[in-house]
């Protein structure tokens, strides 16, 4: 982990609100699936945490959702812009064996790198609507089967990913499920995977400060294994946690 000056190679729009950035970053050689980088946005006090979508040893791929002025700045950079990137950060997925990745919306990008790194992978991805769907071609390349759900039924199954997940786990065997997406989706994955007896890892999102574990703002309540709880740091102890570690009740 360190701060690197990395050249932006390309910036393409994926959906109405998201961009696909490719950055030359051979220094990030240790970046693992599920880790993230903390990107400086000019004129802002805080960096923006972005999950690693893919990494081939040289080119770091980041899918960025435009959520405010900081990510507006980042997604409007032209190629050859030098970005100030802190990373790789956090604890990633156990991306080995035969896995099923489950993603929702802007939670789908880190699952590309996870699926690619595993021995074999299938995917279930959900989006609000067809025009918000992203990375479907990439999932097809790195996964055996890709199932899609949309909230409004404009693409794939009409409904939520947990319905597809429940069916899939009843018919196929996986070493592990890896999930990233909004909190209600993750809660549903916890319920379904617990019911099916399949280990689950979840990638959490929280507003971050330092990104390295020092400032304690991205707190998440975790189970200590003895009936008690403690506060963990999404940036340092996560963002990926074993589902049974996380208190989802809040």
């Amino acid at each position: 982990m360190n701060v690197y000056k990395c050249t932006l190679l390309s910036n393409t729009r994926l959906t109405e609100s998201s961009h696909d950035l490719r950055v030359l970053a051979p220094e990030m050689k240790d970046a693992r699936p599920g880790q993230f980088v903390h990107v400086k946005c000019e004129g802002f006090t805080l960096r923006r945490p972005i999950s690693v979508c893919d990494f081939d040893g040289e080119i770091l791929r980041l899918v960025v959702d435009r959520r405010g002025a900081g990510t507006d700045w980042l997604t409007s950079r032209a190629p050859m812009t030098v970005l100030d990137i802190l990373g790789p950060l956090g604890r990633g997925f156990s991306a080995d064996g035969n896995i099923l990745v489950v993603g929702g919306g802007i939670g789908t990008p880190p699952l590309i790198y996870a699926a690619k790194s595993a021995a074999s992978a299938d995917a279930i991805v959900g989006f609000r609507t067809a025009s918000a769907a992203m990375l479907l071609g990439d999932f097809s390349e790195v996964c055996g089967t890709v199932q899609i759900a949309t909230d409004d039924g404009t693409l794939g199954a009409h409904g939520r990913v947990d319905t597809l997940l429940e069916k899939r786990l009843a018919e196929h065997k996986y070493d592990r499920v890896l999930a990233c997406g909004p909190a209600p989706m993750l809660r549903a994955c916890v319920r379904v995977c617990a019911g099916a007896g399949v280990p689950l890892e979840v990638s959490l999102e929280e507003r971050m400060g330092c990104g390295v574990g020092a400032c304690l703002v991205c707190a998440v309540k975790l189970k200590d294994g003895n009936g008690g709880t403690y506060m963990g740091r999404v940036c340092k102890d996560g963002p990926v946690f074993r589902a049974e570690e996380v208190c989802f009740d809040d």
């Binding site: 400086k40 805080l46 802190l86 507003r207 400060g209 390295v212 574990g213 020092a214 304690l216």
Partner: protein, 304 residues
């Protein structure tokens, strides 16, 4: 070569740049990036008598040129701090500044006894945390209770000097500063964060779960400079100035206003090397401007 040494409450710092409490944890994370011995001192995360979970998330919101935070003094408790963190920090050639926060005077006394026995170099008395219900800022907004907390710590600190951390959320900070000084504070640090609030207008919810939080970052620098200047003119004890420092020039400004040393905090979130960079820039400033010893900057402002 500029003489970068400064003295704060009798403690010699190799340079005037320290890191602010709550922004640096206990140093483990930043020690992966640079040698902590580069720093004049480390104000560690605030500690309390018992372990605390802190506030629910979200605990941070960005603001124009700053941030709001409401961590709520999450920490492992003073015994874990003394047993595990002090020995770790002792491995570095830098001064350890413990930050203690009590709910009662008895707690301040107990914390003082424990951290001084653990061998810290300086005790920062936190009477100004805006993010906890009991204690915290309640002690720091009234001169009598500020004096009482300072006195309770001083009486139990043995030879370890005591520095009271002042809240800017008061009508007249010099009144609290004088009260802490007369209760035996060897130094004062200022400013803690300014109480603030942000609302997500789409959801009508405050961004921070605690509703309100403490404002820090470049936005508060002019407030810090003004308050350091006012306090420097009101007391004789040395000051540790902080609030929005992000460059060597910012640090020089706080020193000219009256600070003997300067803490860097929020700037670390944008640049993890900010404290080391500020120290280098301050040294360059001194060299460029013919300042032989950085301590000459303290109080060097020429007011109109």
């Amino acid at each position: 070569m500029t003489d970068m040494r400064v003295t704060l409450a009798g403690v010699e710092l190799k340079n005037p740049i320290v890191v602010a409490s709550g922004t640096f944890g206990f140093g483990h994370e930043y020690a992966e990036l640079f040698d902590l011995s580069e720093l004049g001192g480390i104000c560690v995360k605030g500690t309390t008598v018992s372990q605390r979970d802190g506030n629910p998330s979200p605990r941070i919101a960005e603001t124009p040129s700053g941030i709001l935070n409401a961590v709520g003094l999450q920490n492992p408790g003073v015994d874990a701090f003394c047993a595990e963190e002090v020995p770790f920090l002792r491995k570095f050639d830098t001064k350890i500044i413990a930050n203690i926060s009590g709910n009662t005077l008895e707690e301040y006394a107990l914390l003082s006894e424990k951290v001084s026995a653990a061998g810290v170099d300086l005790i920062e008395v936190n009477i100004s945390c805006p993010n906890v219900k009991a204690g915290g800022m309640a002690f720091g907004t009234d001169p009598r209770s500020a004096a009482a907390a300072t006195d309770a710590v001083k009486r139990n600190a043995g030879k370890v000097p005591v520095m009271t951390k002042l809240s800017p959320n008061v009508t007249d900070i010099t009144e609290i500063a004088r009260a802490a000084e007369s209760a035996g504070a060897d130094a004062l640090s200022l400013i803690n964060t300014l109480l603030g609030m942000r609302i997500d207008v789409r959801t009508r919810r405050p961004i921070i779960r605690n509703n309100t939080g403490g404002l820090s970052g470049p936005a508060v620098l002019p407030v810090a400079v003004r308050m350091v200047w006012q306090v420097a003119n009101a007391v004789k004890v040395p000051l540790l100035g902080m609030g929005g420092v992000a460059s060597g020039a910012d640090a020089a400004e706080l020193m000219m206003a009256g600070a003997s040393a300067v803490a860097v905090g929020t700037a670390l979130f944008g640049d993890p090397y900010a404290a080391v960079r500020v120290r280098k820039e301050l040294e360059e400033f001194c060299e460029t401007n013919g300042v032989a010893a950085v301590r000459e900057l303290t109080g060097a402002v020429r007011p109109w």
